[in-house]
């Protein structure tokens, strides 16, 4: 788990096809573990090589909750590509996650 989260800089990440994701969790609860494994599965399947995941534990860094306006946990925040998108829950519904992250339509088109 990342301990020193930095702001995601669109300049650094380069091309528009890159997915910069942040997963906010509260400790290593079953719910957060499920969410993380679900997320990894989805990214590996659909976004292999063009994603970065940053996991932020709000129990360790509660001050970071305000930045992305986090209330519900776990919350997945897509910083790139813009616009900012939040998906809350344990990400168990892959379909919804893909729609939320705006991944599926492109897969179909491709």
């Amino acid at each position: 788990m990342s301990t020193e989260p930095r702001a995601i800089d669109p300049e650094q990440t380069g091309d528009s096809g890159h997915y910069a994701l942040r997963l906010y969790v509260a400790g290593q609860t079953p719910k957060s573990m499920i969410a993380l494994s679900n997320l990894k599965k989805i990214c590996e399947t659909y976004l292999a090589g063009i994603y970065t995941i940053e996991v932020i534990d709000l129990r360790e860094h509660p001050q970071l909750a305000a930045g992305d306006q986090i209330l519900a946990l776990p919350t997945l925040v897509r910083h790139l590509p813009t616009p900012l998108v939040k998906i809350i829950g344990d990400l168990s519904n892959t379909e919804k996650v893909l729609v939320g992250l705006d991944i599926r339509p492109r897969q179909i088109r491709a």
């Binding site: 909750a65 209330l71 809350i88």
Partner: protein, 571 residues
């Protein structure tokens, strides 16, 4: 404010079974709540939009810091922190400084529904962590959640939300922070989403009613578990001094009755009262027609009070302060100098500006802060509304003034008939002294008359007196009673002239008679002198005659003797 009722530390002491309370710092509310809201527990404050819920919460926090040294967290679900700072700035709260000093933390929680997708199980641990972080970062004892119901529009899964809210309130209780949760008023229930279900310790309802285009804010403590509380609806208002609740109820008739007398400020009027003025603490009604000088009467009283160095509070509902000062200058009463010396305070407001309750509330606050010796209400007839309400308001005002021993002058515009039915009759029973001013038309002119209708506890003149308002104040004139009542105006002047003439005539007559008597006397004296002279002449004559006779007799005697001697014989 009754803060001693609930010591801040009492929840840790088992010897005190009393529910620990946290003072809200809202003027008047802590009296209603008998100390404050339950300490370490959540309290729900609900009401429709624009009721002042946010301000309620903010006052609670700011006063907590200023009065009790308790730090606070404000979690706003609606307004941004900068907006909040700006909004309460107008109430004299320097929120930014408190934030900078880390005494108050403001966290704006903003959730945009459009950028949130829900998938699978989640909880609101993030909110807990944020709140917990904010509480820990400044060591907060007080928390305001404004308005947590906003979450219902942010999350689809209300089942999760409800269970999380329940958990949140439980969690807040466990942390021992005194919390205010605000909620929007809903149809048929206290809040739109029924969160009163979870907050069951104390519920305060704010209300904003518009009657005849005048808004009155009211507050009611719906429930308070484990404590007694005032159950009525209490008016409250929000102004530049913040949030004020007015627990004014009829104080009951147990106020002290003073024996002291205060001058009326009008010399002639003083002498119409057997004690030479009003009783201190009396309520005086000055009623009269338009233009009879009610305000001047009141100002004369103010003049007398302030000249003695007493404080006066003048509530003017018809004239602005400056207008009042100018107008009274024209009758030689310089109220401006008293105002400059801080003895006089003039509060001007249009009666239609607020409802009766709020007027009463404002007067109450002014009286409390200024602590005047005398209060003028000019005029009470400006209060419009249902008669019973006007009466109740005045009753409470009179009680308020009496309980503080404040002498009060109430001006009232009367109808054409001096004793009009309705309001005035009801007011009359509240008043100790009633001075009726009237304006009568006679001989093509209007003249002003005054009489003392009643004066409880002292004798008073029953004479109807004419008075004039001159450049140096009010003058009561000597009464002239004609065949048809009191003579006024030119009739009086004519009568005065007539009496002067009659007086002159009478003195002339006396003078003449005096002269006549004197003349007669001198005549008599002259006669006496003449007769005296005659008498003297008479005496002289008599003396002469007597001596003549004697001479003759002696002469004859001598002759006879001579003859005898000649003839040679002796007798």
């Amino acid at each position: 404010m009754n803060t001693s009722f609930a010591p801040e530390t009492s929840n840790s002491s088992p010897s005190n079974p009393q529910l620990a309370k946290a003072a809200t710092g809202i003027e008047g509310l802590d009296d209603i709540l008998l100390g404050g809201i339950p300490q370490g527990r959540p309290t729900l404050v609900c009401g429709a939009a624009g009721c002042g819920k946010t301000l309620f919460g903010m006052t609670f926090l700011v006063k907590g810091v200023l009065d009790h040294g308790e730090h606070g967290v404000f979690m706003s679900f609606e307004e941004r922190a900068s907006d909040l700072v700006q909004n309460v700035d107008s109430l004299g709260f320097d929120l930014q400084t408190l934030v900078n000093e880390q005494k108050i933390a403001i966290d704006h929680i903003y959730v945009d529904r459009s950028e949130i997708e829900e998938t699978g199980d989640y909880d609101l641990e993030g909110l807990f962590l944020r709140l917990g972080y904010a509480i820990d970062s400044i060591g907060a004892k007080r928390v305001v959640l404004d308005t947590i119901e906003a979450l219902f529009s942010s999350f689809k899964d209300t089942a999760i939300l409800r269970s999380e809210l329940r958990r949140l309130f439980y969690w807040l209780k466990e942390r021992g922070v005194t919390t205010i949760i605000t909620g929007e008023r809903g149809d048929g229930q206290l809040t739109r989403y029924g969160i009163e279900e979870y907050v069951s310790d104390c519920v305060i309802l704010l209300d904003n009613r518009v009657v005849e285009q005048i808004t009155t804010r009211r507050l009611r403590v719906v429930k308070y578990r484990g404590s007694a509380h005032g159950t009525n609806e209490y008016p409250f208002f929000i102004d530049e001094n913040g949030f004020t609740v007015l627990p004014i109820t009829a104080a009951g008739l147990n106020h002290a009755a003073s024996q002291d007398i205060v001058a009326t400020g009008i010399r002639g009027l003083d002498s119409m009262m057997s004690r030479g003025g009003y009783f201190k603490g009396a309520s005086v009604l000055v009623s009269g027609l338009a233009g009879t000088g009610k305000t001047t009467f009141a100002a004369s009283f103010v003049d007398a009070c302030c000249a003695r160095g007493e404080r006066c509070l003048y509530f003017s509902f018809e004239e602005s302060a400056n207008q009042l000062l100018r107008n009274m200058q024209s009758v030689g009463i310089d109220l401006g100098s008293y105002r400059d010396r801080g003895l006089l305070k003039i509060e001007s407001a249009r009666p239609s500006l607020y409802g009766l309750e709020v007027h009463l509330a404002r007067m109450h606050r002014e009286i409390q802060t200024f602590e005047p010796h005398a209060v003028i209400i000019d005029p009470i007839s400006a209060f419009r509304g249902p008669e019973s309400e006007v009466h109740a308001t005045l009753l409470r005002l009179v009680d308020l003034l009496k309980s503080r021993g404040i002498t009060a002058i109430f001006c009232s515009l009367a109808d054409v008939a001096v004793r009009s039915p309705g309001l005035e009759r009801e007011i009359s029973s509240l008043m100790d002294t009633w001075i009726s001013l009237t304006n009568i038309e006679a001989d093509g002119e209007h003249n002003r008359l005054l009489f003392v209708l009643k004066s409880r506890g002292m004798g008073h003149s029953n004479q109807v007196r004419e008075y004039q308002i001159c450049s140096d104040g009010i003058h009561l004139l000597q009464p002239y009673i004609g065949p048809n009542g009191v003579l006024t105006g030119t009739a009086r002047i004519r009568q005065e002239a007539l009496e002067t003439r009659a007086e002159e005539a009478r003195s002339e007559t006396i003078e003449r008679r005096k002269r006549e008597v004197l003349k007669k006397r001198s005549d008599l004296e002259r006669q006496i002198a003449a007769m005296q002279a005659e008498l003297e002449t008479q005496a002289l004559d008599e003396a002469f005659l007597a001596s003549d006779d004697a001479n003759q007799a002696s002469a004859e005697d001598r002759t006879r003797k001579t003859l005898a001697s000649v003839r040679g014989f002796n007798e």
